[in-house]
Symmetry: C2
Subunit: 392 residues, 2 copies
């Protein structure tokens, strides 16, 4: 059986995701689609709009066969760590392919980028380091270093100013780093070749666009952009956002004070003082963000710090989590079950169907982040212990 | 000028408090009444029903001349520490008398109790210690030891099964301990000699009774039991309770986990695990308390632990705070200003009118506890910096 892996957040699952999933299947002749999906907190430093089990249902309804949780430690990390954790999970599950969206829709520029970096490694790393030390944000430091080495090749390089390309680049870089045999495949995003005759006109919108629409008007408006199953699931669940979690974030910043905040992952260079002052003065999340934003950090990076404060994710905990240490099964189709039976004996990591009694710091963070996510929407805690994998 | 000190919570200020205040003035011929008042969290481990500035206004309207905050570290401590902090403040303010309510209304039994304990010190302390080690609650251990030494005197002893007598006893014990010249005076509580012709029939109810009535029905019902000024102030303010703060308490227990909870003041003997489990399972404060109550701890002691969790009051912080280190002026009358002018130069502690920039761990806790109190009622943080003393 051919298994193809995809890395997703499905926040929420929309027509663009459905297209990507079907294309991944078609292009790789896959029998099984394995989705590594972020849990309750996402790479941009935001809570997911609906809980991970609802998003798992969306994924299964959309054609995924296995939904595996990307643990908190990776789902809320910067691109290189996010990508590495994802690829390690797909590699552990013996995927033949990893399929990601990109602007160009071809693998060659990515391969050339990686090769060019490899042959100019010293220059590349030195340039990144000196930019970061100058206070330039990581994505910009990457861009500058990349620009620098681009003069040393005649072949086209991947455009790393595009967020989707950045993730694709890191997936491929991670695969090289861990010496995985996984093969990269890429699909052009909407706006380039991202068009499917089977979809009606204007049926694709980004997840960001959908969420904006959801919060600004009402749920019905986004129906056009989502598969019916996904839309129905979205309608039935409470919608989470930073607005709901801000009272807890604010309270915890006031409670902890700068000294304790400094122990939280990603908090550096005294930004804890800025957070503390802003929490005292601002009663909405938007106002808070306006008060703390700076040229030094991207909005995303600040939001990731805030997620870590909210969940109490400490530097000491982060230091304990290097690689995914389990495969947390969130959902599975009939097809997925056959596949799992065929590879079960060879899995290098334990398969976790439901959180039980254990001391894995990464799994404990997943459980805690679920409990804290639920605080904002009056959900019950302990769901990771109670919820079995969703079966299709 | 004769200054008489009283120790109060005014939660809220009612006719019984008014009677006590007037009697204190009358019995001691006082020119000035100095009230040491708990801030936002009280000795029973509860948030005050209205903020400390509103309660200060009530106190001034009721005839107090100076309202000084009993810092968090003392206002939320067990009876001996609560009493000692209070007496140290009144002593620092050069009160001639301390006047407290008691069941009997006479000082002799208290003096005899202290003398009998002094002459039987070894037996007394040994008995307390062995009871506490057997898991008996502190008030009960005190009672047993007290019973034990009562055979060694013929004079009547104070009845320490009564909460009011316990505090009175500790005020007098503290005064001895710090070698204060302050003289104790006691007034019998309602039900014994606590009756004043000037008050209409059935006009006195306990603060607990008033709060119950407030939460069960509406504000108008308690009008009979409160001076009009106090009642009007109570009506205008949001009413705080554990119910409003429970979402934050629950969130923070889930976020901290047992390991971090164990660092909080008063948390011992693994009760952090019981709290953690109960937070996962219970969505109201009442349910939570039912789940964690035990024979080992009084309800009050558990609530005090919960206040410390809510405010992040750590064992390491508590260890830094031995005695009151400042006199925080919450409110003052014209009369109080004259008195303050007359003693200002001799005050052994700095007078703090408004919290400024400083590093006193006790004052930082007061400021933080205000901010956290405000989280439950959508109040603004930082009020300790912004609010000047209330002037009458």
């Amino acid at each position: 059986m051919i298994a193809t892996g995809i890395v997703v957040e499905y926040n929420p699952f929309h027509n663009g995701h459905l297209f990507h999933l079907n294309e991944a299947k078609r292009l790789t002749n896959a029998n099984v689609i394995i989705a590594v999906m972020s849990g309750h907190f996402l790479q941009r430093g935001e809570p997911a709009i609906v809980d991970k089990w609802t998003r798992t249902r969306m994924a299964l309804a959309g054609g995924a066969d296995l939904v595996i949780e990307l643990p908190y430690a990776f789902s809320t990390a910067h691109a290189p760590k996010f990508a590495k954790g994802s690829v390690q999970i797909l590699d552990a599950l013996q995927c033949k392919y990893i399929c990601f969206g990109s602007e160009e829709g071809s693998i060659a520029p990515f391969t050339n980028s990686l090769d060019t970096i490899d042959t100019n490694k010293e220059l590349y790393e030195k340039t990144i380091m000196s930019s970061v030390q100058e206070g330039i944000s990581y994505p910009n430091a990457l861009r500058i270093a990349y620009e620098e080495i681009s003069h040393n090749t005649d072949e086209p390089l991947a455009d790393l100013s595009e967020p989707n390309n950045i993730l694709g680049f890191h997936y491929m870089q991670s695969a090289r780093e861990i010496r995985s045999d996984i093969l990269p495949v890429t699909i052009a995003r909407k706006g380039t070749h991202f068009h499917d005759e089977a979809l009606p006109e204007n049926s694709i919108a980004s997840a960001t666009g959908i969420r904006k629409e959801l919060f600004a008007t009402d749920t019905e408006h986004v129906q056009t952009f989502m598969p019916p199953a996904s839309f129905n699931l979205l309608k039935q669940q409470p919608h989470q956002s930073w607005n709901h979690l801000y009272p807890f974030l604010r309270y915890t910043i006031l409670r902890e004070g700068p000294e304790q905040l400094a122990l939280i992952a990603d908090i550096t260079e005294g930004i804890e003082f800025s957070f503390w002052r802003a929490a005292k003065e601002n009663s909405t999340f938007q106002q808070f963000m306006q008060a703390v934003k700076s040229k030094r950090y991207t909005w995303t990076r600040i939001q990731r710090m805030l997620v870590h404060i909210l969940t109490g994710y400490r530097k000491t905990t982060r230091a304990q989590i290097c690689s995914p240490s389990y495969l947390r099964l969130l959902g599975i189709s009939e097809n997925g079950r056959s596949y799992l039976r065929s590879v079960k004996k060879e899995l290098p990591l334990p398969l976790v169907s439901r959180a039980g009694s254990h001391k894995d710091p990464s799994l404990l963070m997943d459980i805690k982040s679920t409990d804290i996510y639920m605080c904002g929407i009056q959900g019950e805690p302990g769901l990771d212990f109670k919820t079995p994998p969703i079966l299709l």
